[in-house]
């Protein structure tokens, strides 16, 4: 396929996907709609992580921390921290409506990401992985420790401000009243699809080319006039901003935030999601998001409630035996890596290649 045809196929696929996303809630239960809202949230975080890891080649094991920054930003802007006894310059009054906090959360997390990008310039590979991991490990404890600012171990909940979040008061859009689950679904997916298109726009042009050059060979990138520092820091900033938006939506979705909302395991799951979805690919990430969302919740408790529908192979496992679901999920993850070395996105790419060679072998 020529690049132009490729682009066309991409547009059609994206448009079809938007239609599917828009119509899906009509066919599934409210409970399921809420679950798919979380898939949208994870998709946003995965898009961000893929920009950094898949396209720029910088491993991060700490994106949960950037999500936490976004989540806390949203909660603080809505509720404020004066109730925890915070006074002076750090006091935040709150009172902002939930949807308006989302871009601010992204901005704040993005700035934190840029700031983190500077010291991270010195590190690469596993050393960078540890440094980011350190941030993820430190975040929950730091949130507990600075309780005048963050509400400490019990965190901040949004129940006190029902008028600010549609999670607690019904929303009316175009004269129709939306149930919480549907509202959440559409909110998360609207943001996710806009950011998906945004990621595509960033990655297709000059910036994306520079990112890939940094990933493939730093030396060659520098020789071609690509500034390593500039693009690595930029990748960190964009990536963290995406994570911040995801964290903000996550907080709105669960109507509270506390230090355990964004655990270390989340950061690791995000990396798993990116690799399962496909490094350096955008389309496959939807599957990565589905995978980690259902893996995360179902891993421990609600195995039999949801999984049989999605993963019939492991649905038969006796859920009265604790540990067996985790064993099965671990095995599924390993098998996925065996058979899909480039993630789900790899299938797309291979299908495209097959199509191309078919066209040319026809003598077209």
């Amino acid at each position: 396929m020529t690049p132009r045809q490729k682009q066309l196929v991409g547009f059609v696929a994206f448009a079809a996907f938007v239609v599917v996303v828009a119509l899906l809630p009509a066919f599934i239960s409210a409970f399921r709609a809420q679950q798919f809202a979380f898939v949208g949230i994870y998709l946003i975080a995965l898009l961000g992580l893929n920009i950094l890891t898949g396209y720029t080649g910088q491993i991060s094991l700490g994106h949960g921390a950037f999500m936490a920054v976004g989540g806390y930003t949203t909660a603080l802007l809505m509720v404020g921290n004066e109730q925890f006894g915070q006074t002076g310059a750090l006091a935040i009054e709150g009172g902002m409506k939930d949807v308006w906090t989302i871009p601010i959360a992204g901005l704040v997390a993005g700035l934190v990401g840029l700031a983190f990008g500077f010291p991270a310039l010195r590190l690469s590979g596993l050393y960078l992985a540890l440094a980011t991991f350190a941030v993820a490990v430190a975040t929950p404890s730091a949130a507990k420790r600075f309780q005048e600012f963050t509400g400490g171990g019990s965190g901040i909940n949004l129940f006190g401000v029902p008028e600010l979040t549609a999670g607690l008061t019904p929303v009316e859009i175009f004269g129709r009243e939306l149930a919480f689950n549907d509202w959440l679904y559409y909110l998360c997916w609207t943001v996710a699809l806009v950011l998906f298109a945004g990621a595509w726009l960033i990655l297709r042009g000059r910036t994306g080319r520079a990112f890939r050059a940094v990933r493939d060979s730093e030396t060659a990138a520098v020789s071609s006039g690509v500034s390593l520092a500039r693009y690595k820091i930029l990748a960190f900033g964009i990536s963290a901003a995406y994570a911040g938006v995801a964290g903000s939506l996550y907080t709105i979705a669960i109507t509270f935030v506390n230090p355990d909302t964004f655990p270390i395991a989340l950061s690791i799951f995000l990396l798993v999601g990116v690799v399962v979805g496909g490094l350096g690919q955008l389309g496959g990430l939807v599957f990565g998001a589905i995978f980690i969302h259902f893996m995360q919740i179902e891993w421990a408790q609600q195995m039999d409630a949801v999984v049989p529908d999605f993963l019939p192979i492991i649905g038969d496992i006796d859920t009265d035996t604790p540990g067996a679901p985790a064993l099965a999920f671990g095995a599924v993850l390993i098998l996925l890596m065996f058979f899909l070395p480039n993630g789900v996105g790899g299938i797309f790419r291979r299908a495209g290649q097959a199509l191309t060679s078919w066209r040319y072998s026809r003598g077209a």
Binding site: L130, V275, G330, I334
Partner: protein
């Protein structure tokens, strides 16, 4: 007053060395695997936990005494590590490193699930081979458990060093890790050497697990925080340097103990983040760890 304070300080240092020895053993396991396979084995901690459960089963269910069970567990862990490499890691070894990393995360989840499934999540007690007695060295009270932990980890580390440095097998192991292509040309069976590396790493992990269990209690999550410390220790020392892993582990053990006790602001809550912050700063100054060599790439 000053003497008492000093004795107190020394006590913290000694128990720091004991936990540091455990971090060092696990960090060394990570380094061995990273040198040969180029990945961080996230399942190292869970492999250690699983092996420790084997030791528990042998002592508790089959009435073995500690040391025979210890040796049997080491043999088991070696075979276990080797088999893990042959069956699960070898097929994905070529290609993207991240793929192998994700496989080890899959192993982490699967092994953890297996342990919970087999032995339930309830904590078990593994007896200590060293008893609960303490000795008094010039006012510094030291438990035999700490002394034993330090001696056993040091012993294992020295044995490994002898193996790597002075035997033909050790030379082959190093050759396979440093330059697989040329090692293959001179007749080293590289794939088996990498497998042996996994086996030895599993042995180190099992030692760390069996020494940890008596003090903190054996449960499926036992080694997870220790893996984080070991990871930090390995990176602090330089991820490819065995000496770095040992020094890094001991330094981290002592550092953690001292800041937990003496820095009021930190306390138990912030111990781990502060330790990681210290490492972060060290890495900014020396991006390849204290003993690591900066990677030189050919274009």
């Amino acid at each position: 007053m000053l003497a008492a304070a000093f004795a107190d300080f020394m006590q913290q240092v000694v128990s720091g060395f004991a936990s540091g020895g455990i971090y060092a053993a696990l960090a060394l396991a990570l380094v061995i695997i990273h040198r040969s396979t180029g990945v961080i084995n996230f399942s190292q901690g869970e492999m250690a936990t699983l092996c420790t459960y084997i030791a528990w089963t042998l002592t508790f269910n089959h009435g073995w005494s500690y040391w025979p069970a210890f040796v049997a567990t080491l043999v088991f862990s070696f075979v276990f590590g080797l088999a893990t490499h042959r069956i699960v890691i070898r097929p994905v070894e070529r290609g993207n490193v991240l793929r192998v990393v994700i496989v080890t995360i899959g192993l982490l989840i699967a092994f953890n699930g297996f342990v919970v499934w087999q032995w339930s999540g309830e904590p078990k007690a593994l007896q200590s081979p060293f008893g609960t007695d303490t000795i008094d060295v010039g006012g510094v009270v030291i438990s035999w458990q700490d002394v034993g932990t330090i001696l056993v980890t040091l012993g294992i580390v020295v044995l490994l060093w002898l193996l790597f440095q002075f035997t033909k097998l050790g030379l082959a192991l190093r050759a396979a890790a440093v330059n697989p292509e040329e090692a293959r040309l001179v007749g080293v069976r590289v794939s088996w050497m990498l497998g042996l590396g996994w086996g030895l790493a599993a042995v180190l992990g099992a030692v760390a697990g069996m020494l940890t269990a008596p003090t903190v209690g054996l449960d499926p999550q036992m080694m997870q925080p220790i893996l984080i410390y070991a990871f930090a220790a390995a990176v602090l020392g330089g991820i490819d340097s065995p000496l770095g892993a040992v020094v890094g582990g001991l330094a981290l053990g002592v550092l953690l103990n001292l800041i937990g006790v003496y820095v009021d602001f930190v306390g138990a809550e912030l111990k781990l983040p502060v330790a990681l912050l210290v490492i972060f700063v060290v890495l900014i100054v020396r991006p390849s760890g204290i003993f690591g060599r900066p990677e030189v790439k050919r274009v």
